[in-house]
């Protein structure tokens, strides 16, 4: 007969794994929905502006730099730009570092990325703290920081902080974690590691996935359009 703690861990496993599948389904649904939304309606006004290939290539290059370097933000708020840029880059590196947990065998490059991700993990919460301070200093009545943004930043901050804690202080069994994650991805769940810090980290990751803002996919596309608009803008009377 199973004792109390086994029952508890089984129930926890079923609950967390169930939530995981639920959230993954929602995330997929949202992705498909976004594609359907943009592709599934008429286009009365749009026309591509640039004609020559060289011009198009220049626009694309500029747009890529806009996206990678957040150049539009740099133009309007330097103090915030440095925080946002460091945050996004460190977040991307941390995510890449996590590839190690969903791949078997782990390619050498992923091990390298994991190593870089380890350092980025320190920077991530610090950059978020910096963003918070900059925003709260600018904002007199709090209007420059929406509740939704504050929640998102807090979730990512705790995610980052628990990541650092797990790496240097509590050290849950990485093999167990990987075993569990690979099982979820293969639709054959393995026992859930019950380390509380890992559980908090994992649940917050699911929350983040659920509330992932739509701008992640759309904003880079808008930046390309905006760059095209800027680079092809001809002031009145200056047409060829």
């Amino acid at each position: 007969m199973a004792d109390g703690s086994t029952c508890y861990s089984k129930a926890m496993e079923i609950l967390v794994t169930g939530i995981t599948y639920g959230i993954l389904a929602v995330a997929y649904w949202r992705g498909i929905s976004a594609i359907v939304l943009v592709c599934g309606h008429s286009e009365p006004h749009y026309r591509p502006l640039a004609k020559s290939r060289v011009k198009k290539a220049k626009i694309l290059l500029n747009a890529i730099l806009d996206i990678i370097l957040f150049r539009r933000l740099l133009r309007v708020n330097r103090a915030l730009w440095i925080g946002e840029w460091v945050f996004h880059v460190s977040f991307a590196l941390v995510l890449l570092g996590h590839l190690r947990y969903i791949m078997q065998p782990v390619p050498g490059i992923v091990m390298e990325l994991n190593c870089i991700g380890k350092h980025a993990g320190y920077v991530l919460p610090l950059s978020l703290l910096y963003i918070l301070i900059v925003r709260l200093v600018i904002s007199e009545k709090g209007e420059y920081f929406s509740v939704r943004n504050l929640v998102l930043v807090s979730v990512i901050f705790i995610l980052g902080a628990t990541g650092v804690i797990m790496r240097y202080f509590v050290r849950p069994d990485v093999i167990d974690i990987k075993h569990y994650v690979l099982g979820v991805l293969a639709f054959d769940p393995n026992p859930l590691p019950l380390d509380p810090v890992f559980l908090l980290h994992y649940i917050l990751f699911l929350v983040l996935l659920l509330f992932l803002p739509s701008h992640i996919l759309a904003a880079p596309i808008v930046m390309i359009e905006a760059r095209e608009r800027d680079d092809t803008f001809v002031p009145l009377g200056h047409e060829e």
Binding site: W29, I32, S33, A34, V36, L37, V38, G40, H41, S42, E43, P44, H45, Y46, D66, F70, R72, L73, R75, V76, N77, L80, I138, K141, E143, Y144, F145, S146, R148, N149, P213, S214, H215, L217, A218, A219, I221, V222, M223, E225, A226, R227, R229, D230, F233, V234, P235, L236, G237, H238
Partner: protein
């Protein structure tokens, strides 16, 4: 509220992406003139976009397509419509947006969607369509009065010419010194120019376009374009930034092809005449002048340097700038026909412009838009800080 109409059908893909692409960073709040005078973040760009995203999800998301459209909260829809009509459509939020939303084009599109749903336009904006159809102008003034009170008797208009001048309704009915000076300066240049008769020079369509009432736009455009084409016009000169904006950006769409003439802002025409020596300024001014960029001229069509170059031709005048100028200029409150319903906002915005001009020690505030001219003059009444307001061509005509 029953909700059958798609919220994205009449938007471009780019605009749908823009709505999805707002990061809610709120950088735009610091640059929005409506925020400056109301402090109401609930009507800010990210809030409006957030609500519109909900509307889109209710009708156009995958879920809505499979399981049916969700009903909409009537109050939310009305609040949204009011917020989008309270905006001056100045586009400052888009100009500084770190993502690059083209809000000067997005807001009119969302207003149009509200109008199609029967919510908006509001107040006096509602009368504009009928007024234009009855009298040719949105102010419901008699067509025969269009040029009467301000047109200088001594000036002769050519019957046919390659150059035409369009006065525009706001200038003709609300900013007489401005249009009068336009004509005086054009006359001083010496090239014959033509105009349409008072009954033929109808509204360019901008007030209807900006308030989302599109039914008459093709008709107005065709009427004006063919009337100018009949007069052999190759260059249409206009001083109103709103007219210039719709003529150059949207008339070709309503007309169905390229226009048979070029659209020119009067500052561009005058700048060329000054450079070529066809216009000479015999008098100078020992004054500090500050120039305000109209949103639809600077952000809209990129006419930024020409008015300044014209002003630099005035001997002795010292040109100073607002903190926010050029593409980053701050709306004076007259934009987007919002002044017709949110009068207090418009006055408060006008006063921000006046205050800064006074604080910077300018002797005169130079404007180049009839709507700005009328509204900032109104804002001056009863205000503690005072400055003389002058239209750019009024200033030039003083110096001829």
């Amino acid at each position: 509220m029953k909700n059958k109409r798609s919220f994205i059908k009449d938007l471009s893909k780019k605009q749908v992406m823009e709505i999805k692409g707002c990061t809610d960073c709120r950088e735009c709040l610091k640059h929005c003139p409506v925020q400056m005078v109301t402090g109401n973040a609930d009507i800010s760009t990210p809030e409006k976009i957030k609500i519109y995203k909900e509307f889109i999800d209710s009708t156009d998301s995958l879920k809505a397509r499979i399981f049916g459209k969700k009903d909409i909260d009537e109050k939310l829809l009305k609040d949204f419509a009011e917020a989008v009509f309270e905006c001056t459509t100045c586009g400052a939020c888009g100009e500084i947006c770190p993502v690059g939303l083209d809000t000067q084009r997005l807001w009119p599109a969302l207003r149009r969607e509200m109008v199609k749903r029967g919510i908006g336009p509001f107040g006096a904006q509602r009368e504009m369509q009928k007024a234009i159809s009855d009298t040719g102008n949105p102010y419901n003034e008699p067509a025969e009065e269009r040029f009467k009170t301000w047109f200088p008797d001594e000036i002769k208009i050519a019957e046919q010419s390659e150059i035409a001048y369009y006065a525009g309704c706001t200038g003709a009915y609300e900013a007489h010194p401005m249009v009068r000076s336009d004509v005086l300066v054009l006359d001083a240049i010496g090239e014959p120019f033509t105009m349409l008769s008072a009954d033929k020079e109808v509204c360019c369509g901008f007030p209807l376009f900006i308030t989302g009432q599109h039914e008459m736009l093709e008709e107005l455009t065709n009427k004006l374009v063919s009337a100018y084409a009949e007069k052999g016009v190759r260059e249409l000169v206009c001083s109103c930034p709103c007219c210039v904006n719709i003529m150059s950006r949207d008339w070709p769409i309503f007309y169905g092809s390229e226009l048979p003439f070029r659209i020119v802002h009067i500052s561009q025409y005058v700048k060329k005449a000054l450079e070529e020596g066809r216009l000479k300024l015999s008098k100078g001014l020992k004054e500090k002048i500050i120039y305000h960029d109209p949103c639809y001229l600077s952000r809209g069509v990129g006419v930024i340097e020409e008015p300044r170059e014209v002003l630099r031709h005035i001997d002795g005048a010292e040109l100073i700038e607002f903190d926010a100028h050029g593409r980053n200029s701050r709306c004076c409150g007259a934009g987007g026909a919002a002044r017709k319903i949110f009068h207090e906002n418009a006055i408060a915005m006008g006063r921000l412009t006046i205050d800064e001009a006074v604080e910077k020690g300018a002797d005169r505030l130079v404007l180049s838009c009839p709507a700005c001219y009328a509204k900032v003059n109104e804002a001056m009444k009863g205000h503690k800080k005072q400055i003389t307001i002058v239209d750019i061509m009024e200033l030039i005509s003083e110096c001829i």
